[in-house]
Symmetry: C2
Subunit: 130 residues, 2 copies
């Protein structure tokens, strides 16, 4: 059995195209040799966002803290602590922090995701004035 | 994409042998048709516990609220909010609420767990006076 405290797990900036002010901790990742899936914690600063993209594997998400919006295809839906999301394979999605405090969520992915492609969607619509 | 609020998901008493004062919500379960793994939320009342058992599939756990102890083989280790656990296949484990407020944690399992056996370990040592 492995036990860790979240704050002891290194946090790194998400550098993927389309991400802004977003950090990730691999709470259960490659080094842990979990048999089937990985657990990450994302922390999005106010005004920040994850990439708007899609891929052929799922996310299972639990919102820990903060508030924001999730892009779900061509809709935007509100997010708050305690919300649970199943982002199915090939769903276009993006998480945006529209609040004043960090938006934190767990995001779990299958181990098979490591070898899969991700397609970034152009960011039109992120800024309402464009 | 499916979005749910935790409190809208039905909570049911855990009736498995060896459980006491423990409830579960299947946040992402069979009806959601998630491709690889399921997300449950457990809520253990003060003094309650999950079964002491082992099985040939893993748990990935994130402690949301409260405090307690986890049995890890023949050891007991403290638990608090923000702790992350990988319970590997065949690890003997049990979660006990030793605090004054509900102990809540997420516990994810592979879909393949549905057809696997669980072995309950006798509860000697749960009551220090025995």
């Amino acid at each position: 059995m492995r036990i860790k405290k979240t704050e002891q797990v290194p946090s790194t900036e998400v550098t993927m195209e389309g991400a802004a002010n977003c950090r990730v901790r691999w709470l259960i990742g490659e080094g842990d040799q979990a048999p089937n899936f990985a657990m990450r914690e994302f922390e999005v600063s106010p005004g920040g966002h994850t990439p708007k993209h899609f891929h052929d594997y799922e996310h299972e998400i639990y919102v820990l803290d903060g508030s924001g919006m999730v892009v779900d295809g061509d809709q935007e839906r509100p997010l708050a602590a305690g919300d649970v999301l199943l982002v199915s394979p090939n769903d276009v999605h993006q998480f945006r922090n529209t609040g004043d405090s960090p938006l934190k969520f767990l995001c779990l992915i299958p181990n098979s995701a490591a070898s899969r492609n991700v397609t970034v969607v152009p960011e039109c619509g992120l800024e309402p004035t464009r």
